[in-house]
Symmetry: C2
């Protein structure tokens, strides 16, 4: 099944650096960021998993679980994690699981491969790309990023879109381009001016369909 | 065909607000950002297309063509563009094309739909989501973002990843997480220390595989 925005994320069982998981049980009422990297002991991946580990308190504060993945075994991940602790965490413990997807079962289920990888699907040496799936507590996929091996992701953008999605769910508002936490939000066109006044108080009406407010 | 990182982007012909195009001819040696929005005369989309229009000089400076798309006609796009000029461009002209994909042919070719949209593929009322395809001058898809209708994108992130991809192509380096233009870059592990010294001069070796330099 192809995974789209609002797809229920498929379930799978897999070994991780913190023990075996059933993915749907792992999610169990949390937001989840599932993200893949090409290979352990490679440079861009080391900076990425380190940055996400350093930001774990920010993800915890938003009720978000992190889980990494590459097409390598758990023992290799565990050896690599010591490098990440050294490079990015001042020796502190790396504390989220990394899936050991040696069979590439999860990689192909989520299509975390590039064109060459897909064409070499039975070749055994396929690396995963830099995919990000943001999954809500009801197990729906809410946002997908697909970056190539050469380009490190943006940790602030992942937190920004989680803040936006959570605000949409909790307050019934939507967010404009380049929104960050604290900036004005948009009242959806499905809400009448009268209902908007009752629900949000003051709002700025730029066009009949473009109304900004604070939440 | 499913579009992945490094897929050659499929060709199509379509009407736009600036005339009919053949997409491969449109690209013709430029970088291209193809992005979809759910609907004209809606609030988040207005802020998005306005922000990209205001940043057009930045995209021009990077040899990047912008082209929008929604599942509505060109005449409706043209009427809406006047609102964008008013809201985001101080009345200046909106100057990149928007595809009128009333048949949803391009939307389905690029899978710019969510789960409900896909299941309603013959329903006729399917809106596009907020997809971004970054395409290089050789027509390869290099990066994909897939945001829901509720969440406006991040214009700085689109420019950041274009800078990263272009630097990778021109200098043979890769970029760490959260990299922005001017920050240190990474020497790929395929380059030996000796070759790195010859090519980049000084570099910082954090791990045998993690070496930072300036370009």
């Amino acid at each position: 099944p192809r995974i789209r925005i609002n797809s229920i994320v498929p379930n799978f069982k897999a070994p991780t650096t913190l023990g075996d998981i059933d993915f749907h049980e792992f999610i169990s009422g949390s937001w989840t960021v599932l993200f893949s990297h090409p290979a352990d002991f490679t440079p861009v991946c080391t900076t990425e998993l380190g940055a996400f580990a350093a930001l774990k308190p920010e993800f915890d504060a938003r009720n978000v679980k992190l889980i990494g993945l590459s097409a390598e075994g758990v023992e290799k991940h565990k050896a690599w994690v010591k490098d990440i602790e050294d490079v990015s965490l001042e020796g502190k413990e790396f504390s989220y699981p990394i899936i050991g997807d040696e069979s590439r079962e999860v990689a192909f289920l989520f299509d975390m491969v590039d064109e060459e990888g897909f064409n070499n699907i039975n070749g055994g040496l396929v690396q995963t790309i830099r995919s990000v799936f943001i999954i809500d507590p009801s197990k729906k996929v809410r946002l997908i990023m697909t970056y190539p091996a050469s380009t490190g992701r943006n940790s602030a953008e992942v937190l920004r879109v989680i803040d936006a999605l959570q605000l949409t769910d909790s307050k019934g508002v939507v967010t404009p381009i380049d929104w960050t936490s604290g900036k004005d939000v948009i009242i959806p066109p499905t809400v009448s001016d009268e209902d908007a006044k009752a629900k949000f108080g003051e709002f700025r009406k730029i066009k009949p369909y473009l109304r900004f407010t604070k939440v």
